[in-house]
Amino acid sequence: MLSTRDHNLKIILGQLYALWLREFKVFLRERSRLIASTFTPLLWLFVIGSGLGSTNLQIGTDYQKFIFPGIICMSVIFTSVFFGSYIIWDRKFDFLKSVMVAPSSRTTVFIGKTLGGMTTSLFQVAIILIIGMALGINYNALSLLQIISIVLILSFGLTSLGLTFGSYIESLEGFQLIVSFVVFPLFFLSGALFPIDNLPAWLKFITLVDPATYSVDALRNSILNLGTYSFQLDIEILLLFTLIMTLIGIFSFKRMKAV
């Protein structure tokens, strides 16, 4: 006989599975989404990577390899934050209403949705990692484990950010516009495309407050052994960022209107 608490936990896990399952099935059926969103990072990797790589930069490694961690982060940033627009779709097509009228808490709905966004990001990163192998990047068991952990933490935090925006913004157009203002600085100021060791003070400061900086740095630590900060510090800051974003996201979902 299960105690009430175990029973409730079982129900909540079932609800999370349900919400994740729905996102995953939709993701699998919309393959064009995966292809389209993997295309941009690859374009950067090959065009900017090879283009700037031909100019003999002093960065201690091949430029294409140098930006590879940054490109992984780029794909996570774009996919995760824009995933927030799906909550607007759900509202538009009343799917959200049918979820809200079920006895699941808003926190569960939020986490379930975030897990869906995380899965999307993970798939995309997997594709980029495979292409990385063709570029001469080597992984071992530890670095793969580290990469997956970093991607999971970052995408959880950024999907939360996207869903927070989605819970406040009513139109898809508005969402695209506002989120662009967030996504591009997150990416460009993360040091994804340049080393952050010798930056002018003002730029250095901005990279320090950009959470994506620490994911780029963590990935560089584990893939290229080239980080600016220690891997542990990177992970700690990322976890803190993701925790804060999750709490803000849950709060936003709780106050979101059901109808």
């Binding site: 079982k10 129900i11 079932g14 609800q15 599975y17 349900a18 919400l19 399952l21 729905r22 099935k25 939709v26 059926r29 919309e30 097509f93 009343d94 799917f95 209403k97 049918s98 979820v99 809200m100 009228v101 079920a102 006895p103 699941s104 808490s105 059901a258 109808v259």
Partner: protein, 321 residues
């Protein structure tokens, strides 16, 4: 089963619900009738805990909608006005997702899903994506979904809106079947009078956020005062005389060139009514419908504008024709 007390819902200065109170009994089909914008959907949303009332409260299946929202949600099923299934998923997958959301144990989940699919006649299409379903099939899937967890109370918000007459008939058949097989209390909103007349045990007319009449369809029709006779004159109303002195006439409505007379026993009284009339163009006679009841109770409030429009015009046209 449902107790509604003095519900008020205000949007700015606009009262969507204006002090609504009534009760719904166990195992009845209760119809909420009224024009668009009368507050029907707002009421359903409050009872389903999706909206908070400005004032007042409601008890659904013994749980307070304000303080026991989760328990209310666990004991009700809702079919919204617009289909809300994910059309990228199959019918079966939609049901599975919702079975999990309602915490239906694995042991009975599959059996229950087949049961509801069978109930609404969708077993053969269960593995098709919902985007391949017709409008009527989508509605039926919503009904199946709403019934998955054996709710005690089932809300149907405009279940036949936008369906063709044939699909509407099918829908009615299924609704009657549900009552028989699932033993639920049903609250149904509609603005189709014949739908309410056919399905409902009791009907509440709602207009401008208030209940203006509440009873069984047959008693509501009695209340209107017998049969309806409409006399149209060639030269306008000036040639009409006063009908109210007849003891069998209950009420007379005067229009531009016609009069509508509510009276007892048309068969035996008509000859007295029209005995000395001149310039008569036509005489029509009919038994009262819920339409007439609604018109009587809502009176002049019908001439006001409703936010969604459409319904008022149809009534105005009906009244004129």
């Amino acid at each position: 089963m449902i107790i509604i007390e003095n519900l008020v819902k205000k949007y700015g200065d606009f009262y969507a619900l204006n002090g609504l109170s009534f009760e719904v009994n166990e195992n009845e089909i209760f119809g909420l009738l009224g024009p668009n914008g009368a507050g029907k959907t707002t009421l359903i949303h409050i009872l389903a805990t999706l909206l908070k009332p400005t004032e007042g409260g409601a008890i659904v299946n013994g749980f307070d909608v304000l303080h026991d929202a989760t328990k209310v949600r666990g004991s009700i099923g809702v079919v919204f006005q617009a289909p809300s299934s994910d059309d990228m998923l199959t019918g079966y997958e939609n049901l599975k997702v919702h079975a999990l959301l309602y915490g239906i144990p694995r042991k009975i989940r599959e059996r229950r899903i087949s049961e509801v699919l069978k109930l609404v006649g969708l077993e053969e299409r269960k593995n098709d994506q919902v985007k391949k379903y017709s409008g009527g099939m989508r509605r039926r899937l919503e009904i199946a979904r709403g019934l998955l967890h054996h709710p005690r109370v089932f809300f149907l918000d405009e279940p036949t809106l936008g369906l063709d007459p044939q699909s509407r008939n099918t829908m009615w058949t299924y609704i009657k079947k549900i009552v028989r097989e699932e033993k639920v209390t049903i609250i149904l909103t509609t603005h189709y009078m014949e739908e309410a007349d056919m399905l409902c045990d009791r009907i509440g007319f709602i207009s401008n956020g208030k209940i203006i009449a509440l009873d069984s369809p047959s008693r509501l029709k009695q209340e209107i005062g017998g049969d309806i006779v409409k006399i149209t004159f060639t030269n306008g109303i000036h040639s009409a005389k006063d009908f109210t002195h007849f003891e069998f006439v209950h009420r007379v409505e005067q229009n531009e060139n016609s009069v509508i007379i509510y009276m007892d026993e048309v068969n035996s009284n008509l000859h007295r009514l029209i005995k000395d009339l001149e310039d008569v163009q036509s005489i029509e006679y009919k038994k009262p419908t819920l339409n007439d009841v609604f018109l009587k109770f809502s009176g002049d409030s019908l001439s006001g504008d409703s936010p969604e429009g459409g319904f008022m015009q149809r009534y105005a046209e009906y009244k004129r024709s």
